[in-house]
Symmetry: C2
Subunit: 420 residues, 2 copies
């Protein structure tokens, strides 16, 4: 048995941020500081701009790079897996309990380790384009049953390609941002004309998202078996949805104002390298995918997901769903390869949402639409059909290792009343 790698920084076994994780984010140590990259370790953020200034990124690829002197991670993620592996090796060594360089240098520790509780976390990347997939069979089936009935809950194209649509990049916000209840048109069944008002069916969607690393040139698709090299890591994503607005607008061109008022992501990007110990086989696909989507290794991750809701007048939050990334039918690499097969170009920092991640059991459904069956029932344990003003929705996700946890922290947002 190998000994577990330990940091000189105390990390509680339940912490999401042990030395095995080292997720990347962007933060301001003081309100007046400029944004800079960091990694989370226990209750601290390690300031990568300080580590770079100190000359401690001394591997061949990052030696002379200014990637950690940027206000976002786009340049770092564009460098590709060899640079990511070099950074990870450097940081795991630097933070390990047996390495004196940082451990025994109080001045550098003071400068570079900032308590998480005192920093402001920002969007880790500039998102050029945001795409949202629809890759959970359970979610797809439930939506089909709710909206079209039991004849064809899953449409014929769904089994042949990872269905997706383009979302809005401008309204991607960081965890903790209030979500103003959107107003818009709705047209309830049976009424003769649409009305205008605040959404009455505001929902969350439990998702994760790929942060794209190196992009591809316009006209040059990414081969399915190279797709993993274009994925830097994952974040939690809440695709806030106004079901009443969406239902009225979405035929025939898809969701628009029902979605684009806000999309929240978690601040920490967990790398595929940190998730690799939790890889598992993806579900068997039947019918088999066309050759451009057939991959040598078909990989998911055993990654537990939870959604908590805390109403404004409650002391505690309630867990409303427990799901797992492993339930996805279409893999992250299939999503990415499909996205580029027509020549569409991805850019570093692009965000590819998985779609709502519902599991097979009723308690593992990933949104209120499914959990309350479009408002027919109340939520288990909470008097809710859709979200109310003041509700705080918190997504979390983590992988349980032997004696440690690789987690994403939280992705949260509170519903604020609509504009008057």
């Amino acid at each position: 048995m190998t000994t577990l790698l330990q940091s000189f920084i105390q990390v509680h076994p339940d912490s999401h941020f042990p030395i095995q994780n080292l997720p990347y984010g962007v933060f301001k140590p003081q309100p007046t500081s400029s944004p800079r990259p960091g990694v989370a370790i226990g209750d601290f953020v390690l300031d990568l701009s300080e580590i770079a200034f100190a000359g401690l990124f001394n591997g061949p690829l990052l030696n002379n790079s200014d990637c950690f002197h940027q206000p976002n991670l786009n340049k770092f993620v564009s460098l590709g897996r060899p640079a990511w592996k070099e950074a990870r090796a450097t940081l795991q060594k630097l933070l390990s309990s047996t390495e004196p360089i940082l451990r025994d240098n109080e001045v550098l520790r003071q400068k570079s380790l900032v308590p998480l509780s005192q920093v402001e976390l920002l969007l880790p990347v500039v998102v050029g384009d945001y795409t949202d997939f629809f890759s959970s069979l359970h979610h797809t089936k439930n939506c089909g049953l709710i909206f079209r009935g039991p004849q064809t809950p899953v449409l014929d194209n769904w089994y042949h390609l990872p269905v997706a649509y383009h979302g809005r990049a401008s309204s991607v916000v960081i965890s903790g941002t209030d979500i103003i209840r959107p107003r818009g048109q709705a047209h309830p069944a049976g009424s003769s004309s649409p009305y205008f008002g605040p959404s009455l069916k505001l929902d969350f969607e439990l998702e994760m998202a790929t942060i794209v690393g190196p992009g591809n040139e316009l006209g040059k698709p990414v081969d399915i078996n190279d797709a993993e090299d274009h994925i830097f890591g994952l974040v939690l994503l809440n695709d806030w949805s106004a079901r009443d607005i969406q239902a009225w607008e979405y035929i025939p061109l898809g969701p628009f104002l029902g979605k684009n008022f806000a999309t929240t992501i978690s601040p920490w990007i967990v790398t595929l390298d940190a998730l690799e110990p939790f890889a598992c086989e993806a579900p068997k696909q039947d019918p088999p995918p066309l050759p451009y989507l057939a991959e040598k290794v078909s990989k998911n991750y055993d990654l537990s997901l939870e959604v908590h809701i805390k109403p404004v007048d409650h002391k505690d939050s309630t867990v409303v769903t427990r799901s797992n990334l492993k339930h996805l039918y279409w893999t992250l690499t299939q999503q990415l390869a499909h996205h580029t097969i027509n020549g569409c170009n991805l850019r570093p920092g692009d965000l590819l949402g998985t779609g709502t991640i519902s599991g097979p059991e009723p308690e593992s459904r990933g949104c209120l639409l499914e959990l309350t069956w479009n408002g027919q029932n109340s939520l288990n344990g909470l008097d809710r059909k859709f979200l109310e003003d003041g509700d705080e929705v918190v997504l979390t996700g983590f992988c349980k290792g032997n004696g440690y946890t690789v987690g994403f922290g939280t992705c949260s947002g509170k519903i604020a009343p609509p504009a008057p």
Copy 2:
């Protein structure tokens, strides 16, 4: 009768770029130069960075601005209409036949006036998000007839809101860029499973697009009667579409790979100020729009549009459609106000496509899908059902004034064979 404003630069009456127009673009005078803003005048580009260096933007708003020392127009368009009006007044004076400052300064003329034939034109703005509307009733009706038949060619929601979807910002390209035929999945009616290959139904879509000026904050909608102040100007847009890919993928989340392989825009942004003499009343809307879409002045523009196709082995191009912007049912301001009503934030430089601009007559249909009725007929005057490799598609648009033309130049692209 007032005398027509004239420039000291010779401008042919059919030129799209008289002193009444002055459209904005971004160009490189030499292959090795840095990109800079310019305006088109006759057969020349006026280099605005040189005019700014010479201190000739001496109005109160642009006096100390670095907006013309940027590699794109995003900063300038963010400044708003008062700054745009100041720039227009400065440039019309500077270029007029009676003003000696530039006319009689040979050194400055040499530095700042570059022949259009020798410059490289670039994307005029960095596009943060690209949205495509569906605002022509004729186009909507034709698509409905082709895909759903005569029962409900226009869906109920269409008359109540400007339907739209999010497009792809990364693949917006400048006029003149080759368009590689996309590959993807299609599923012809009657076949049991989908196949993979180059698109067999490659199409153009004749559109125009708003270039957004000042944006709005997340959560703060733009009032319909203020919407015009958020529109800097218009470009021509070709929303290339692979009809076979689109038809198989688009239910239920809308077009994705059938569209996002490329969208071409024209290099010159014609300002609303230059188009104002050609404003006309928009079509009456029945049913009347909800109050948030009801505007005091409902304005379109009498702007002629044409599409030419030049097959690779032909000497000349053939006009395949003649349409007009005035046919749009939903106005540009209604599109913009609707986009923000849920709190969605627009940013300077965002691109809002109108959707295919078809007129009422068969000869004014804005895409091959309509012109050949989904490949049932050949194109008038050209042996084509959809685009073939080597075809060059050229969009053009112009307003005819009394003795002058305010035009957009061209928006072109040639079909290149698919990746092997």
